[in-house]
Amino acid sequence: MSTPGQASPAETLGSGGAAAVDPPEARTLLRGMCLIRAFESRVKQLSDLGELTAATHLSIGHEATIVGACRPLSPSDYVTGSHRSHGHLIAKGSPIGPLMAELFGRDNGVCSGMGGSMHLADTSVGCLGESAIVGGSVPIAVGAAFSAVYRDSGQVALAFFGDGAIGEGVVHESLNYAAVWKLPVIFLCENNGYLVSVRTTDVVAAKHLADFGRPYGIPAVTVDGQDVIAVRDAVQRAVERARDDGGPTFIEALTYRFEEHAYGLASPDYRSAEEVEHWRTTRDPITLFRAYCAERGLLTNAEADEIARDCERQVDEAVVFAGAGQDPSMETARFAMFAPASWPPGGRRAT
C-alpha cells in the first residue's frame, strides 16, 4: 500500500543506476540517518516526559531524503528548510548539542534560544535558516544562489520544502526567478503525502509535484525518498549541473512521515493505522539501507548496530550539553533584534 498519488516504491534501493557505494560511504549514509533517528526519537521521549514542551515536527521517516540530499553538498553550500527542520541541520553537519539546547530554548542553543525547533539555523555549516511559514524559506535559498553567482563563489543552494509548500505562491515565484536567472539552486520537495491532515493529491492539481518544475523549464525528477542512494544520486546530478552553470533542478522525493504532523498533536483519522504500519514495517529508510548494505557485504549487522548505538551516545551527550544551558538574557534578545551600529562591515557572514 502506498500513499495515494505516490509512485510505487522502487523494489530495491539505488535502482536508478546508482553510483557505487563503498563501505566508508555506506557508514556515512547510515550514520547520518541514524543520527537523525536517534535525535528525533529522543525528542519524542523528552516530550513524553514533559521536559520538552514546545511543538516539534519530527523527521522520522524522512531520513533517507534528508541525508541523501545533503550528502553531495559541501559545507559551504547553502541549505534552507521548513518547520520540519531538525534533520536538515543534522545532515548538514551542525553539532547536535547546540541543536538540542535550542529545542530547550537555552542560551547555548544554536540560535541562543531565540528560535527554537522551527527556526534553526547554523551559518557555520551553510544552514541559513528554517522557516515555520510554509514555503517561506524557498526564495531565501534562491537569493543565496544568486549571491553565489554574483560573487562567483561556486556555491549552490538547496531548498528543502514539503508538499504543502507547492500551494504557496512564493514557491512558484521562486521557481520562476531561479529559471529566468539560471541560478544554482536545488528545489528539494519532501513529499510525505499529507498537508497535516489533508491528502496532497486532494488539493494539488498535478499527478507528481515534480510536474511543477517543467513549466518553468526546470529539469524535474521524482525519486523514491526512502532510498538514500537514489536521492543522493539525483541531488549529485543537480549539484553538478548547478556548479556547471546549468541552473536549477526540481527534485520530488516521495517519503512518509511516521509520526503526526507535530509530535503529540492529536489527529483525527485522516490516514489509516494500516497505512502507517505498512510504511513503518516495509518502507523504513534505515531498515531498507541496512538490508542493502548487509546484502552487498558493505556493513555487517553488528557494524550497523554499533553505528546506531554510537548515535544514541552522541544524543546522550547533546542532552547533557543542553542541560548545562541557561535561560537567555533580554540582552541577547536585543542583540538578535538589530545588529549593533558598531557591527563591522563584512563581519560574521554565512559566506
Binding site: 526564495p139 554574483y150 533584534m337
Partner: protein, 316 residues
Amino acid sequence: MEQDPSVFLFGEDLRANVFGTSPGFAARFGDMRVRDIPLSEAGAVGLAVGAAMTGLRPILDLTISSFLYCAADQLISHLAKARFVHGGQYVLPVVVRTACFYSGSNGAQHSDRPYPMFAGVPGLKIVVPSNALDAYLLLKASIEEDNPVLFFEDVTLRGVRGRVEVTDEDLASRATLGEAKVVEAGDDVLVIAIGGGVAIGRQVRELLAAEQVSVEVLDLRTVSPLDRDLICSEAARIGRVVVVDPAHEQCSVASEVAALLVEEIFDSLQAPVRRVCTPNIHPPFNRALERQLYPSRDGVLRAARSVLGSRSDREP
C-alpha cells in the same frame, strides 16, 4: 554602488528608469548589479534576504508602496524576523525602496502611505524623508545600515526643488537612522511632521509668523526608531503640539507620537496634542475629493490655532 561592489539594485522597471530612481544605472553598473524583476514581490524580498544573509547588500525597488502588501509575509515573517529567530547569526543589510503615490488621482489601491503599518513590525527600520538632501543622506545611511530598512518616498515631494549638492559638512554630520531634526526653530507651537507634512508645517509657520506666533517644525525623518528624546524635549519646552502625518489617522505615526507625549510629558503640555492625518476613508479617484482628505495648510493652521486657543495670552 560605486563604493561597495556588494551593493546591487533590483526591482521593477529599473533598467528603463520608468520611475526616475535609476537614471543611467543599467549602463553604468551592468546587468548583474541592476536587474529588472518579474512582478513577484514576495519572491523578490525573500531573494533579498537570502542575498543579504550571504554577504550582499541588496536594494530592492518596489516602486509603489501598496505593492509591499504582495510581499507581506516575506517582509514581516522573514526580513524582519530572520536575524532574530536565528539568534543574530548574520546581518541583514536590505533596503526596500518604495514610493507613496498619493494625491495624484491614482485610486485607492495605488495611493497608500503604509509606513505606520510596517512601523508596527519590530525589526524593520522605517525612513520617510521630506526633502531632496535628506532623501540622499538617509538613503545612503540606509544602504550602509546592517539592518533591514523600508524607505518610503512621498511622491507629493517629487518635483519640489531642494539642495542636492552635498557638502563635506553634510557628509561629516552623516544622517543617522532614528534621528529627527528641528528644521525650523520656534517657541509657541511645535509642528511635528513626516514626509510631505514637513512642507505643510513650514507653510503654516510662515502664515503664523505674520501673527507673531513662532512655529517650530520638527521633521521625524525616521518612523522607526522614533527619536523619542528629541520629540519629548521639544514638546515639553513648547507645550503645544500638532502632529502632521499623511497616513490614515487610526494607528498613524501621529497617534504614536501623541501617545508618547501623553505618557512622557503630560504635565508639560498646555493643550491637547492635535493630529492632522488622513481620515479613515480610502483615497477616492475624484481629484477634488481626494485632495480634501490629506493634511493641508488650512487643516494644520486650524489645528495650530486650536492648540494656541487655550493659551491665556492669546484668547481669540
